[in-house]
């Protein structure tokens, strides 16, 4: 089997939280997540707020130091001593194009900063050319170089964020909700830009978002997270067409469809209750408190991912008949 670009095994990210004067408890933001990403592939990561999807992205880049598990990039284990080298190959695009760009820096400085840090350009002229090339790559032009971030619209700012990530010629980019803050018409432009860049440069993405439509459009495979764990992982069309985990099923059925006739005839599974606090997780399967199929086994034992259809893994004791919504 060919080597994966990125191999994550049993990743854990626990944060200590003070719950009282002398008491500390562990918040298990990510609790045993494993997946792989191949060169040029997109893995989508979906889930609701607080499920740990952003934490996964940040732990991969060691913006948080993982508390457990292993992360291998091209077969090499990433740790504190060699992360600096990997940063040239792994980059990130953040959600909020308003707060992730320094308002006191020009576009030239923002995009060029990484070039300086990694000493990628010998001469001033070379650096200039590289910055202009990057801006053109993401659909901006050289006139934009001297401007500040506040002079741009949301969509253009996100393009600056992408240019910054591309500056070091990475092979892998964590896209953390990169289009959530944008209007629909602009969202489509940025999604297309991500796809074009992937084709041209052979990039691999971890595409994190809460919008299943967007993730489905971008990804080859999709992983669904709930309270720090992956509950279902499969090829994109398989997840949408044949979801088997009760959580994925309700998630898909809850997405409003922009089609009135379909909306009227559709059967929606509305989940009872809310996501439990990650400080106070249920025993066994963490979804069981909201699951209508929960049994005693779900409270006693934690289900692991099992392959139930080709390439389709589900962590559930009572997987449901696949159905589309």
């Amino acid at each position: 089997m060919a080597e994966h670009l990125l191999e994550v095994r049993d990743l854990k990210q626990h944060f200590p939280v003070k719950t009282g004067l002398m008491k500390t408890r562990m918040l298990k933001a990510v609790d045993g997540v494993s997946f792989t990403i191949d060169s040029g592939e997109t893995l989508g990561l979906v889930g609701e707020s607080g499920c740990g999807k952003t934490t996964v992205g940040r732990s991969l880049l060691r913006l948080y130091k993982p508390t457990g598990g292993s992360i291998k990039f091209k077969g090499q284990e990433i740790d504190d001593t060699n992360i600096q080298g990997f940063r040239k190959q792994m980059q990130v695009v953040f959600q909020d194009p308003y707060s992730s760009l320094n308002p006191r820096m020009t576009v030239n400085d923002i995009v060029g900063e990484a070039l300086d840090i990694h000493k990628l350009c010998g001469t001033e002229k070379e650096r200039d050319e590289k910055v202009v090339h990057l801006l053109e790559l993401v659909g901006l032009n050289s006139d934009h170089k001297r401007r500040y971030a506040h002079e741009f619209s949301g969509g253009q700012r996100q393009r600056i964020g992408i240019a910054r990530a591309l500056a070091v010629d990475p092979e892998f980019i964590v896209c953390d909700e990169p289009v959530s803050a944008l209007d629909v018409s602009i969202q489509a432009q940025i999604i297309n830009t991500f796809k074009e860049l992937q084709e041209r440069l052979g990039l691999a993405y971890l595409f994190i978002a809460h919008d299943l439509h967007v993730v489905h459009h971008m990804s080859r495979r999709i992983a669904v997270m709930y309270l720090g764990k992956i509950v279902e992982m499969a090829p994109a069309d398989e997840i949408i067409g044949y979801p088997m985990h009760p959580y994925t099923q309700s998630l898909i059925s809850a997405i409003p469809v922009a089609d009135p006739k379909k909306a009227r005839s559709r059967h929606r599974i509305v989940l009872e209750g809310e996501v439990p606090s990650p400080l106070n997780m249920p025993s066994g399967c963490s979804f069981r408190t909201r699951c209508r199929y929960a049994t005693q086994q779900c409270a006693d034992e934690t289900p692991q991912l099992r392959e139930l259809r080709p390439g389709h893994e589900v962590a559930c004791w009572n997987p449901q008949e696949p159905k589309s919504f």
Partner: protein, 332 residues
């Protein structure tokens, strides 16, 4: 035909600023029938929230209504004295804001905030108001309502806060509920719960809803009629089916094309090119012309009139005029 409850005629709302006058709402017309759900869609800055704030007359300074009328039953809201407006606001027309995190007062308990509206608009005493508050919390599906009454907003989750907001808005049984992006800040499974709740309450209490959102999915699920806004104007309005299956304005068509769909292939999305219009620098003709692939010469110079496509459907686009004005492509 259902009874018309609210009629907005030629509404203009402007914000004078140092760099010029921003025409946030620029001559819009629509009406709302009793018991119906009207959706207003548009991008940020299209004027959908300002329309709602104009109806309630809660515009931020220096915004003001410069022209037009808003008939609620037979009274014109625009010219109502402030005292009378206060009797309508919160009692007969109420609003749920987008962000449940910031629209509740953090230093008052849920009970305090709920009973304030009830005591202001009805003659219930403290104990009766408290009973009513409890009843409302149960109605909107807040668990352990007695305990919640004593809690502060920070102790509640986002979905719970939005339920409290809805309880507050509905406590006086309004005729019209304005929901300004009520679920945008919530997760999809919680969004589904809130939308279901709103639909249920609408049927139970017989009110009308004005649903403001940029999410075409939410619109499709909830609304009977739809208004599409762009740069302060209505591009198109009509029944949900007409707008979704027979769009007659290029902007609406673009919007519908630009959303990724689950059941289609993954071919490239068709975004609307360009960026939203600068409200300080509005073009002479159709505001959308600069981003429109089918723009003609006439679009650049003349504002299109609203044309009836059929009895359920109005659109403001020159392409619907049979002769197409002077004809000829403008944008190549």
């Amino acid at each position: 035909m259902a009874q018309t409850l609210l009629q907005v005629k030629n509404l203009h709302t402007i914000f004078p600023t140092d760099s010029g006058e921003v025409r946030a709402v620029n001559g819009i017309n629509f009406s709302l029938a009793r018991g119906k759900v009207l959706g207003i869609v548009g991008e940020s800055g299209s004027g959908k929230s300002v329309t709602a704030y104009s109806i309630l007359r809660i515009l931020d300074n220096p915004g003001r209504i410069s022209e037009g009328s808003i008939l609620f039953e037979d009274e014109d809201i625009v010219t109502l004295p402030p005292g009378k407006m206060r009797q309508i606001r919160g009692a007969r027309i109420s609003i749920i804001f987008q962000d449940p995190m910031t629209s509740l007062n953090p230093v008052y308990t849920v009970e305090n905030q709920l009973t304030e509206a009830i005591r202001l608009h009805t003659d219930r005493n403290r104990a009766q108001a408290r009973e009513r508050a409890l009843e409302m919390l149960q109605l909107v599906g807040v668990n352990e309502p007695r305990k919640r009454l004593k809690q502060y907003p920070y102790q509640l989750s986002g979905g719970m806060r939005q339920r409290v907001m809805i309880a507050m808005a509905l406590a006086c049984e309004p005729d019209i509920l304005i929901a300004d992006e009520p679920t945008t800040a919530l997760d999809v499974t919680i969004q589904a719960q809130i939308l279901e709740l709103m639909q249920e309450l609408k049927d139970k209490l017989g009110m009308s809803i004005i649903m403001i959102t940029h999410d075409l999915g939410v619109i499709a699920e909830m609304c009977d009629e739809i208004i599409v806004m762009y740069a302060g104007r209505v591009c198109e309005r009509g029944t949900a089916d007409e707008i979704f299956y027979n769009p007659r304005h290029e902007y609406t068509k673009g919007l519908l094309r630009s959303i990724p769909k689950l059941d289609y292939g993954k071919e490239k999305l068709t975004p609307i090119g360009g960026s939203p219009v600068d409200l300080l620098n509005m073009p002479r003709g159709c505001a959308f012309a600069a981003r429109c692939d089918s723009a003609m010469k006439v679009c650049l110079t003349q504002q299109p009139e609203e044309i009836a496509i059929n009895k359920d459907h109005m659109a403001s686009c020159w392409l619907n005029v049979r002769d197409g004005g002077e004809g000829g492509q403008a944008n190549g």
